[in-house]
């Protein structure tokens, strides 16, 4: 029987949640026995090669590319999981959410004390993904099936949740591993 496939993405995140996944140490060898990685920064596969059992999403949506990517994952994964505080509530990037977008851009590209920008313009190249009015948690954009909180979620949480899902067992997660920090 072919192994189930998992895919991962980092949207508006810091890759800390991916680091935490690597932090499962030698269990990573067992993980490779359990699953094949499809689209993921781990193997640099850019397009889905087939249907995936589980998609792990780090980060919320701060620009249109994040939204398209998240929708692409939703179409191709049976179970989609918000991993970490940024996916769940926007996290640090969402600290801009109660500041008008124009003020944020002006501060970043025009008025900030360390800005060097001789053009005096806010970057508007077509190649750049359009920034959203605010940062959105994943479940406010597509349906998410599970949430694994933490900043980052501990490796033990990611491991235990993944194994339970792949082996079709109930998620019996101990008190110590569910934390919001």
């Amino acid at each position: 029987m072919a192994k189930p496939k998992i895919a991962t993405a980092s949207l508006a995140g810091c890759f800390g949640c991916h680091m935490s996944l690597l932090d499962i140490d030698d269990r990573i060898l067992k993980l490779v026995e359990l699953v094949d990685f499809d689209k993921s920064p781990v193997d640099d596969i850019k397009k889905f090669t087939g249907r995936c059992a589980v998609g792990l999403i780090e980060g919320g949506c701060c620009n249109e590319e994040n939204v398209h990517n998240l929708q692409y994952f939703r179409e191709n994964c049976d179970i989609l999981i918000s991993v970490g505080e940024c996916a769940i509530m926007g996290g640090i990037p969402a600290m801009r959410n109660n500041i008008p977008l124009k003020e944020c851009l002006d501060e970043a590209y025009l008025n900030g004390p360390t800005v060097y920008n001789p053009s005096g313009k806010i970057p508007g190249d077509k190649e750049l993904p359009l920034i959203l009015d605010r940062v959105y948690p994943c479940h406010e954009v597509v349906k998410m099936d599970y949430y694994l909180p933490g900043c980052p979620p501990p490796a033990d949480l990611l491991w235990q949740a993944l194994v339970a899902l792949l082996e079709n067992k109930p998620m019996d997660l101990p008190y110590e591993v569910i934390k919001y920090d």
Binding site: G90, A94, N97, Y146, Y175, E176, D181
Partner: protein
């Protein structure tokens, strides 16, 4: 005549003293009822509704409702815990709670209730409201992003400190804690040793230069759910 009475909590008979609230009686019996605005040294306030229990099938706040003989109280039911979790979730989406860098994290009662009640992500959309921070005082600061309007600071200042530093202003979504001062927090007679400071259940009122003193893993609610101290009394109550 004895002032002892009996009533049931989740079908189990417990003894209480006439004049106690349901919460006080349950605490003594080693039964934890979730709470936020209640504090053992303060008068009952009844504002957060996290302590809602069913008394003879009617919802009541356990922190304000007095015991009466023969009453049937339900508390640990899936329905009530879902209502409690929904209140906690509302508080999370109404404020701006970045637990990842909050100094209170691990010792915060709101967060600990989220853990105990099994909140993974709130069912309500995040509001990202704008709130201020007042860091004008040399030893204390208040971050309104994390304030849950429990009124413990307001009541502690009056009831325990004999001052009147904090007060609520505004209504509904505009309600907030204000200071008894013409300027800002530094213009009040608040002191870093006031009970009002330590009694804030969340990271809204904090002492400066005291952050992150306890390592992760050793903080109050890292390995034991909130209410464990009360529940550990149960064993003792049974033995006696």
């Amino acid at each position: 005549m004895s002032d002892k009475i009996k009533f049931t909590m989740d079908g189990v008979e417990i003894e209480a003293t006439q004049g106690q609230t349901i919460m006080q009686a349950a605490d003594e019996a080693g039964i934890y009822i979730p709470r936020l605005c209640a504090h053992k040294d303060l008068l009952p306030f009844g504002s957060c509704r996290v302590c809602t229990v069913m008394v003879n099938d009617r919802p009541q706040a356990a922190c304000t409702q007095p015991v009466s003989p023969g009453m049937a109280v339900d508390s640990e039911t899936p329905e009530l815990n879902d209502i409690r979790r929904s209140i906690v979730e509302m508080l999370f989406v109404e404020g701006n709670h970045y637990c990842a860098f909050c100094e209170k994290s691990g010792n915060c009662e709101l967060q600990a209730l989220g853990y105990r009640l099994g909140m993974l992500a709130p069912r309500y959309p995040y509001m990202f409201n704008k709130h201020d921070v007042d860091a004008s005082h040399p030893d204390i600061y208040i971050d309104h992003n994390r304030c849950i309007l429990c009124g413990r600071c307001v009541r502690s200042s009056k009831e325990l400190d004999g001052k009147n530093v904090f007060q609520f202003v505004g209504r509904g979504i505009h309600k907030r804690v204000a200071f008894n001062s013409d300027t800002d927090l530094s213009g009040t007679d608040v002191s870093v040793t006031d009970r009002a400071i330590e009694n804030c259940p969340v990271g809204a009122i904090l002492k400066k230069r005291s952050a992150y003193a306890v390592p992760i893993g050793k903080r109050k609610y890292d390995s034991q759910p909130i209410g464990s101290d009360i529940e550990s009394r149960k064993a003792a109550v049974k033995q006696s």
